[in-house]
């Protein structure tokens, strides 16, 4: 297996969306290729860092305008 195949299959590998045979081949390659191992590891960390990031709280004035607009619309719906 070539390093290029690792890159092409990287997203499927990280998402566990590969058949077991191809997955085993990739893991054999990763055992031997330090660069590919680092690319897989740092890509995985990239996803985890974003995945774990919390959204900043909504700015208070933005939140207030949202709830005012909703109140107006909801009041109309009630009448």
């Amino acid at each position: 297996m070539k390093c290029k195949t690792i890159i092409v299959e990287l997203a499927n590998y990280l998402d566990e969306d590969l058949d077991p045979g191809l997955r085993a081949e990739i893991e054999q390659h990763l055992d031997k290729c330090k660069d590919c191992r680092l690319i897989v590891d740092t890509t995985k960390k990239t996803i985890q860092i974003y995945c774990n990031s919390e959204p900043a709280p909504l700015p208070e004035n933005t939140r207030q305008r949202l709830h005012e607009a909703l109140q107006k619309r909801l009041r109309r719906a009630r009448n």
Binding site: I7, N12, K34, I49, Y50, S53, A56, L66, H67
Partner: protein, 212 residues
């Protein structure tokens, strides 16, 4: 060198895949006209929906408008939500449409989600370095947030939006494809490229220096 075997990233349910127990009840109550139930849903998702619309539009005013319109449309069309998907996924789809309309209005020639893209093997530099176990801990929260959002902002919209839905909002590949009217292979190819581009952008902040 640590073991090359990679732990599966998504072995356990992701936070947004765990539907809060009260959600079907809240949606049913909101459908029946109980306004506090809808307000609870708004409070639950407003920060996430604002982050989504801001990341897509890259403009605070457009993001706020898109968020407001998304919640108003969700309320108006609540009867059409059949409960086949999570309420949040349905809401995200509405918010994505609103945000894309804003983005296309501002940048009509830039945004095409369905153009062909290459697979991304050109995106890996030769000089690959370890990041260490928790590279994000080297930065204060505000610095980290700034690094993460500016890296995402530099992506082309077609990649940024797929990454946003798939890896930040944690929609499945199929849900992302449905939300953006793309095929599953198109989502996968954009996701691969987005992940590799972001890895490369973050590398300059997270790679271990020679003496660390």
């Amino acid at each position: 060198m640590s073991s090359p075997k990679m732990d599966p990233i998504k072995a356990s349910p992701l936070p947004s895949q765990v539907v809060k127990e009260d959600e079907p009840l809240l949606v049913a109550s909101a459908k029946a006209g109980e306004i506090p139930a809808f307000e609870t849903l708004v409070n639950r998702y407003e920060s996430k929906i604002y982050r989504l619309t801001l990341n897509i539009t890259q403009n605070r005013e457009d993001a706020e408008d898109a968020m407001q319109e998304a919640f108003l449309k969700a309320f108006e069309h609540l009867d059409e939500f059949e409960g086949n998907s999570r309420f949040y996924t349905w809401l995200v789809r509405i918010a994505v449409n609103q945000a894309l309309m804003k983005l296309r209005k501002r940048r009509p020639n830039v945004v095409s989600l369905d153009e062909q893209v290459d697979t991304g093997e050109d995106l890996v530099q030769r000089d690959v370095q370890d990041w260490g176990p928790s590279p994000e801990d080297r930065y204060k929260q505000t610095e980290l947030n700034s690094i993460l959002s500016s890296a995402v902002a530099e992506l082309d919209p077609a990649f940024r939006i797929v990454f946003q839905l798939r890896d930040i909002e944690e929609l499945s590949t199929e849900e992302t494809a449905e939300a953006l009217d793309l095929s599953v292979p198109a989502v996968k190819s954009r996701l691969l490229r987005a992940r590799l581009k972001l890895r490369q952008k973050l590398d300059r902040y997270f790679r271990r220096s020679e003496n660390s």
